[in-house]
Symmetry: C2
Subunit: 344 residues, 2 copies
Amino acid sequence: MTQFVGVNDLSEMVGTMGPRRFLRRLVDYLSEDFARWEMFDKVARVASHSPIGVIELMPTSDGTLYSFKYVNGHPGNPRQGKLTVTAFGVLSDVATGYPLLISEMTLLTALRTAATSAYAARLLARPESRVMALIGAGAQSEFQTLAFQELLGIREVVVFDPDPAAVEKYMRNASGFGLTLRAASSVEAAVSGADIVTVCTAVKGRQALVSRAMLKPGTHINAIGGDCPGKTELDRDILEDAQVFVEFTPQTRVEGEIQQMGPDFAVTELWEVETGRRSGRKDSQAITVFDSVGFAVEDFSALRLVHDLMEGRGKKLDLIPDLGNPKDLFGPLLGESETGAAVA
Amino acid sequence: MTQFVGVNDLSEMVGTMGPRRFLRRLVDYLSEDFARWEMFDKVARVASHSPIGVIELMPTSDGTLYSFKYVNGHPGNPRQGKLTVTAFGVLSDVATGYPLLISEMTLLTALRTAATSAYAARLLARPESRVMALIGAGAQSEFQTLAFQELLGIREVVVFDPDPAAVEKYMRNASGFGLTLRAASSVEAAVSGADIVTVCTAVKGRQALVSRAMLKPGTHINAIGGDCPGKTELDRDILEDAQVFVEFTPQTRVEGEIQQMGPDFAVTELWEVETGRRSGRKDSQAITVFDSVGFAVEDFSALRLVHDLMEGRGKKLDLIPDLGNPKDLFGPLLGESETGAAVA
């Protein structure tokens, strides 16, 4: 039987243990998996495009477990009350090829994106960072806030979003987090004085929401929203002056902020910092950028954690037949059916 | 909510309507989809190999629906009571990217493989074909038998398998089909006098189980088992003298019987015969070969049929969140959880 973790199962489980503890555990899993990055099968995502959206499959494997995520991107979905991006995923046993777990991944992707951001910031930001600017108060904003509060020690968040309803929603959701929250009237006002700048807007196209002149020395930028071809959020003058860190270079050159730069623009992969192969932040004055686009290994880590936490719990699905004789599929499954009378 | 069709759901549904009617409906769906072959997004399957097996994802889309199949191949599985090949699949709405259906596909793949064989034979075999040789009495054998009886009018099957237990299992399962069944002591004896030769063995490596001299003029060969690199079942002298038909040429050149031939070996795709763009069998004396490897469009047709037949029935899974405000994922899913106390 294959374990099923639905939206209700996952939100109950995360709610019961508390999202902070879940994020902390997930960062541990990410750290383990980034430390053995070279073991993973890293293939390009497989995209099926239509005029109004995309459906992608993102597989990876460490040789023991295999995972893939199904994820769509449909910017017009909110007009009919649906989500722009939804996802689900599967974790399988490489030894038998049998699926172990099917899980919802809309909520899980939000958690893994925030956990990956906090993981990267822990490697790259100044440890004394306390104030975070949050540009964009959409679906990802509360997750980023919790992760940075819990794992980085952020105590104050200054939020900016051109949509007052989004800011209000954010303030309501984050009001119980135990942080100082402030709404700013512009990107510049939000960023001013921040140690960490998290940019997670849904605005399409080449934007330059944040530019170099807005930043104080030593800022770490957590750039979430520049995550597909043609969509960026940072002025290129930041990239020209920063140390830029990525997940998987070939993918980020196409999808990330660095699509603005040439193909030889120097970047460092996070796993290289994790393993000590290359250094992270060079000094307390440097601008560091995590150019996040999301990679299959992070989904793998998240599914691995859910599988460990849900062991023995949740629903079971009969997705794969359990048969006595592998040469006999017909007998056990259709042997009792009406097969005698041929339609003449 | 996403519809779930498990092994029990599917075998109950097919058992109740009768596998013959299901196969007939599936051939109708295949015929519709092969007739509009050029509309489909045809990408290579994405394989993750390990030393003991492979896990593959096979996506396709017609622009309105999207499907993918997850399928493994692990030859060592039967030693631990598991199936060598299992599968499940997903059908989605291209307009929103939302999954409509998750279905078991181990049984469904057996049905679709048999239906595709019968569909191809209906296009290519002599209509007066009545006797079928069946080489290999494994998991696929009863499905092939039912499909050819129902859709081609086969009345007699002569089976050969070197494993007496497999032949016994086949005879038991097929005893109620209303056919004349005969076991032969060799491939040559089974093939002698047959109008159609179905070859579906699990033997690995380059085999030449059937050769040209065994065949009477006008035979149609339904070659199922040569379906991965390094695995073939026909002597190349058959291919040299036959009209060869395939599903999707680039894939069949790597996986099918024609991997024995050069890259320019002439083949015809089934959809070209379906649409009348190219002709099928040239005369009643020709040897025709359907070099079957299985393609994503056939899985698409099968999932489309299951979705239509199961409409409103079966279990529902909360795979995708149903939210009021697409910018607020946190509130509805984790708003009630314990977020206030930061771990200091």
